[in-house]
Assembly symmetry: C2
Homo-oligomer: 115 residues x 2
């Protein structure tokens, strides 16, 4: 299993789709804050996995997967996460879109040569 | 509005979250096929928008937004799209995860300096 893919269970489950454009002159602590949030999310009850990609232009999409809407609510309201959400608005992002969705169906493909 | 953000209506609506790892030695026609699929999707009934990012390691996430599950079904079964889905499995991707989800809530942020 590629660690960049989320090994999610059979649907239904929930997700947060977070699309953003990072500011060009980003401060050094973005990487630290981002890594810390990943570590913290993975410790939250109901966390199922996360997938993330950011292109060289600064557009990023992160999808985190959760057992329930309550798990998402707990994560959104976690004190340390609230601080970093504020940092995101004040300093890291030009814009973001955050969407909560219920995953209803999923299909996987692995090529013959995949690890 | 940044063209990289999907200007979606108020929820509920649907989305397809497509996460993939591209093969390293990708053939030249990937870019053409990808651009053509984008053009074609945008012409489909019920299409609401698309967001996409691929990082230098080859991990990409594309989220397309749709009015209904039927619109997604029509897109998935479009003849030209079926051909490219096959190309994707045969030649472009190490793996992918495709998830259909119902967007229930959405929030947007624009920084003061954003266009």
């Amino acid at each position: 299993m590629d660690p960049r893919a989320a090994d999610t269970p059979r649907p239904p489950y929930y997700c947060v789709i977070f699309t953003s454009r990072r500011k060009k002159h980003i401060e050094d602590d973005y990487g630290d804050a981002s890594a810390r949030m990943l570590e913290l999310a993975a410790q939250m009850p109901g966390f199922l996995g996360i997938e993330s990609a950011r292109d060289p232009e600064g557009i990023g999409i992160t999808v985190s997967y959760w057992e329930s809407e309550e798990a998402i609510k707990n994560w959104r309201e976690h004190a340390e996460h609230l601080v970093v959400q504020r940092m995101g608005r004040d300093r890291f992002y030009e814009w973001y879109e955050s969407r909560v969705a219920k995953v209803e169906r999923a299909t996987s493909f692995r090529s013959g040569g995949a690890a």
